[in-house]
């Protein structure tokens, strides 16, 4: 097998004009998307074309026993009951009553074994679909989705992480895909950094100085123009577009009733923001909820946390399903691992990567499906064991990508997902 180096063969060289052509088309498509939000028909059209992903990361490691795989009345089950859901025969924890009504939109993977009980490593493998190996780093799902799915050259970022605390900027999670696919972090769930025009500068003056900038650029372009100079000038145009669309990051534009339905707590507001972003054509949004690291008082913590989660999550699922966007939007609820069936002396549960669950839904997944099974006390997977690699392949397949495909990174073909994994076929519709 020989490598044909794209960077050296004229056939593969990116002709600048083609590059620009794509940019133009991408911008147009996206612009259509924004304008289209007014009409539900157009929203549906956008929905069918563009695939999206939303991840809820339950940081610290949520308990599968208090969520997706309850074992009531067993030595490991804890105090909570299991309740029926909108899927006949499927029971989940009583801590998720509203989510139970949405289960027919979702699917469960109950046989996850990642063999990893360390927070950092567990998070890494769930977010990248690969085990951390020294000397190499892999892009997170959001970066992969942004590269593979997001329209090129759009004003809005393809990869967004909503952060609980302040701050923002660009995160370092795209590895070899390059920083253009790194997450734009929205500190405190606000708009991207620097997206507001400075007070003293009026819109008119800004237009004037930008016109001046363009004329300088046009003059230089007559001497020399490259894909890089075009990308650079284009980034300023994208910035201006983003400033125009800044209000999509503002959830106060949503009716009070809707805000209440999602919950006025941080998770609720962030889930609502996530919905707004997905509606506006952003490819990947990650929200996180913490802290689930319940070595002490596992049950009290879950009682409290799951209350928040249940309301916000079920509202998000319901809205996506109702608008038709769910057909093209993949939902993932993940943690770095689950929690031990054994209840420790502090009524806590500890780290547990051996037999836990992930909740998925939407896009190309079977609705209401359950794959994998643990034993009666939840101490081992007894059917259809899968790991992070299978899950990652499944995510990609669910949004219509060939999970065994490759990215061309500066002429180097690099597999999108771990070579040893496979998608969970029974989950795919």
């Amino acid at each position: 097998m020989k490598c044909s180096y794209a960077c050296h063969s004229p056939e593969h060289a990116i002709a600048r004009r083609h590059f620009l052509g794509t940019l133009g088309a991408g911008t147009a498509a996206l612009a259509g998307g924004f304008g289209a939000m007014a009409s539900p028909a157009a929203a549906k059209q956008l929905a069918s074309k563009q695939k999206r992903v939303v991840v809820l990361f339950l940081a610290g490691g949520s308990s599968q026993l208090e969520t997706w795989d309850p074992k009531p009345k067993t030595t490991t089950g804890g105090p909570f009951r299991a309740i029926p859901t909108s899927v006949t025969g499927l029971h989940i924890s009583e801590l998720l009553p509203m989510t139970a009504n949405q289960m027919h939109h979702l699917a469960l993977v109950r046989g996850v074994n990642t063999k990893e009980n360390d927070h950092g490593k567990g998070r890494y493998l769930m977010e990248t679909g690969r085990r951390q190996t020294p000397g190499s780093s892999f892009p997170q799902l959001g970066a992969v989705a942004a590269k593979a799915l997001a329209p090129k050259g759009g004003a809005l970022p393809g990869h967004i992480k909503i952060q609980r605390g302040a701050g923002g900027g660009r995160s370092n999670d795209a590895a070899y895909l390059g920083p253009e696919y790194s997450a734009v972090v929205l500190g405190n769930g606000g708009a991207p950094k620097n997206s507001a025009r400075a007070g003293s500068l009026t819109k008119d003056k800004d237009s004037q100085r930008n016109a001046f900038r363009r004329s300088i650029n046009d003059r230089f372009a007559k001497r020399r123009r490259t894909a890089e100079t075009d990308a650079y000038t284009n980034s300023y145009e994208q910035a201006l577009q983003l400033m125009e669309k800044r209000s999509i990051f503002d959830i106060s534009k949503e009716p009070e009733k809707v805000q209440q339905r999602y919950g006025k707590d941080q998770l609720g507001q962030q889930c609502l923001l996530a919905r707004r972003l997905l509606e506006n054509g952003i490819t990947f949004v990650q929200v996180s909820h913490s802290n689930y690291d319940t070595h002490n008082e596992n049950f009290n913590f879950h009682l409290e946390q799951m209350g928040e989660f249940d309301r916000s999550f079920s509202a998000l699922v319901e809205d996506l399903a109702q608008s038709g966007m769910l057909d093209s939007t993949l939902i993932i609820v993940m943690s770095e691992f689950g929690r031990t069936p054994r209840i420790n002396q502090y009524f806590g549960r500890d780290h547990w990567g051996t037999a836990w669950s992930v909740c998925l839904g939407g896009a190309g997944l079977q609705r209401g499906a359950v794959v994998g099974k643990t034993n009666k006390t939840g101490t081992a997977v007894v059917d259809r064991q899968v790991n992070h690699e299978h899950l990652f392949h499944t995510y990609l397949s669910a949004v219509g990508l060939d999970s065994k495909g490759e990215f061309d990174i500066g002429g180097r073909p690099i597999l999108m997902a771990a070579p040893t994994g496979e998608p969970i076929k029974e989950l795919l519709s």
Binding site: G135, S137, E180, K193, R209, R223, E228
Partner: protein, 949 residues
Amino acid sequence: MVFRAGHLIALLMVVVLVEQSRAAEKSSRTDSPLHQKIDRMIRAANVGENEGVCNDSEFLRRLYLDLTGTIPSVSVAKIFLDDQTSDKRAKLIDRLLASPEFARHMARRFDVTLMERRGDKLIKTAQWREYLFQSFLSNKPYDQLAREILGADGVDPKLRPAARFYLDRNGETNLLTRDVGRKFFGKDFQCAQCHDHPLIDDYLQADYYGLYAFLNRSHLFVDAKKKTFFAEKGEGGVTFTSVFEPEEGKKTTRPRLPGQKQIDEPKFKKGEEYKVKPAKNVRPIPKYSRREKLALLATSGKNRAFNENIANRLWAQLLGRGIVHPVDLNHSANPATHPKLLRLLADDLVAHKFDIRYLLREISLSATYQKAIDSPADMEQQATRATATLAELEAKQKPLETALEKASAAAIKLSDQSDAAQAEIAGLEKNHVTLAAALAKSLANLDKQTAARDKTKKDQAARRKLATSLNELAKKASQAALQLPQDKEFVAAAGVLVNRAAKVNAELTSLGNQLTNQETLLKKAGQDLATAKASATGSNQKLVALRKKHAQPYETAMEQVRVARLALEVHKQRIVGANVFARYAKALRAADESATVIAKVRSQEAATLASLAQVGAAMQQAEKDRSAANAARDAAVAKAAQSQQAAKTKQDARDSLHAALAASKAALVKLPGDAVVLEAVAKLESRSDQVSLECTTMQKTAQTDVGMSLKVAQVAVQMQKKRDDMAGDMARLQTEQQALAKTMAKVQAESEPKKSAVLDSRDVLDQRMGRRFTVGSLKSLSPEQLAWSTMQAVGMIDVQRTAEIAAWTKKSKQPYKNTLDQQREIEKAVHAKIRPREGAFVATFGAGGGQPQNEFFATVDQALFFANDGTIRTMIGHSGNNLSARLNKMTDTKVLAEELYLAILTRRPAADEVEQVAAYLAGRKTDRSAAIQEIIWGLISSTEFRFNH
């Protein structure tokens, strides 16, 4: 044949002269400075020709950014641009290379290259950068720098920062293996960690583990004071298995540098590997350090990958891309664009003792470095010329392929032989170990025997001394006893003495015998040793010879394969290059042809249109003629009718007169001679005659008029026909014109893809010329260059410098004279103040920590940073004597524009640019200072600012 001596001598003279002149030519070529050689090599292997040299402004900006990491200040720019001396470029190169800013820039570059913006861990970035800064300030040879980093353990406080490369990667062997490979050998072996690289023939798993073996004994060591060092064990091997070919089983390797053999190493007995043995809280020190060996071998000047890596990286620093690019992917499938040049640079750098300044100086002096960014004007002619060479080039490929096949076959054959020899070598190695053991045993035996003999000798000497005194005493006592026979006691004592002496004598004899015995044994042991030594040496020689016999030809053969492969790749590249030109030429031709067709259709269209116009005009005339004829006809007809009518009236009058006359005459018959009647008849007769006459005339007139009207009617008919004919022509022409318009639309549509094919192929060609260094490249500023250049442009750095100089003058109570020492002081102070401001730029424009840092990317957040971030706003805003404040004071727009352009783009503005600035400010009389800041913003966010250097 008979030669006369004279002839022969003359002939020889000629030969000698020719040889001499050839040698002179050759030596002048080899002796010429490196920068001239660079230009020759680039020209010899280029794609297209371009003699365009950048102007002084561009040279100044380029050199400042490449050597000091920032653009020059306005005053520097003015002085340089106005300097009329011819060697000002060379002088500037030397001045910048000697400046502290150069050392600072190199330290930044090397930091980013080696550490890839990892956060502080065990060694602070500031200390590490200071170490690098001092290294470049003193022009430390690169081999020494690399030796310090690769051999670092963090123990020597002076060199502790050098350990950051290892320590801040947590001493993780796989990570270090990859990064040592990438950063010091230009080879990213990552894919070869688990198997031979699937796509690259010469990235082998054995290469990876060869490097790995230098490093896997090393580990982090934390001492009792919680200080971390990079320690090394004295034992530990490397085994690896290919995940692709697990059936091949485990393989082992000793350390091995890329492209070289496994190294020979001293062997120690178990337990004797250490100078300081590992223990709790004790940092082990092995007698033999593999890491030290790595540092020594890599930097010896003999490892080509190491030498070429640094030469390539320095080249890339100035030219914007490596001769091998990306700089860490040096392998046969991604060959150097100019392999001979790369080799020359590397060899010359080694010959100049790894003097980095030397190499940078030579490259900067080359015309290749000083090329303009504009592509040559005669690309079309060049394309035609290149196309002509294509067939010839393609024909030459086959022999090169054959050569490669031949070389490969030879290498494979040798490899098979070598495999067979491996068994023999292994046997010999085993045997050699036995022999070595025997040798050691004889040596030990000899030592033991020698010790025994020495002891005997010592004993013998002691006994002999005792015996001598005893014998003497016994003798004297015996003599005394003879004289005192009655003293029994004495006699007895003498007897005891004699006996004792006899016993000691006997012992002495015995010792003598023992010694003889031992000497014999010792001699034998010596002989044994000699034998063992001889066989060990023999076996070793055999082994060395065997290794040499098989390894060397194999290595030579592999080298030949490499050379052949490289030659083929280079040739292929040349074909690709010619093809790129050919494609451009073809696209141009196709576009030309299509333009010709369009022109033809257009001319037909024009002709038709002209005819149409002509016919139209003629038809208008005909129409006019026809109308005139019709009018004439109508007039004539009317006139004829009128004449006829008049004649008829006259005729009627005449007829009435005739009737009246006839009646009168009849009356006369009845009334003959009636005078009245007679008079009436006479009057009527005269009247009738007159009227008849009139009638005849009028009838004639009427006849003429009718004739005339017929004639005119005929003309009208002719005119009508002429007009009808013309209408036919017109319709035909119109149809023709419509058809032509259709054809035109078609050929124009067909020409569109041809036009874009020209643009696309030109794009590819431009890119390729850039890659082959035929045109100056556009290099995006690194985050640090962007930070410093922005701060320089807006005047922040100058303001800071002025303040520091004032502070220095005040403190030292000396005038500032810009000596090198003073420059260093000021640079240090300015750097300390400005450096913290880099952060915002680096966070926005740099890739994440631990990721490759050399790829350009443009994202919305960067543009938003420039557009709205307070950092930029504050920098542009008025402060002290910064750019904004200076411009605000200038009333003459021309002066203002010059200051603005020199400060930001290092050039003077063109006339229309001055006008543009004037126009911008003209509308902003009330908020001029805001307008000035907007203009500054427009320039620092322009592509020219971001890319042109």
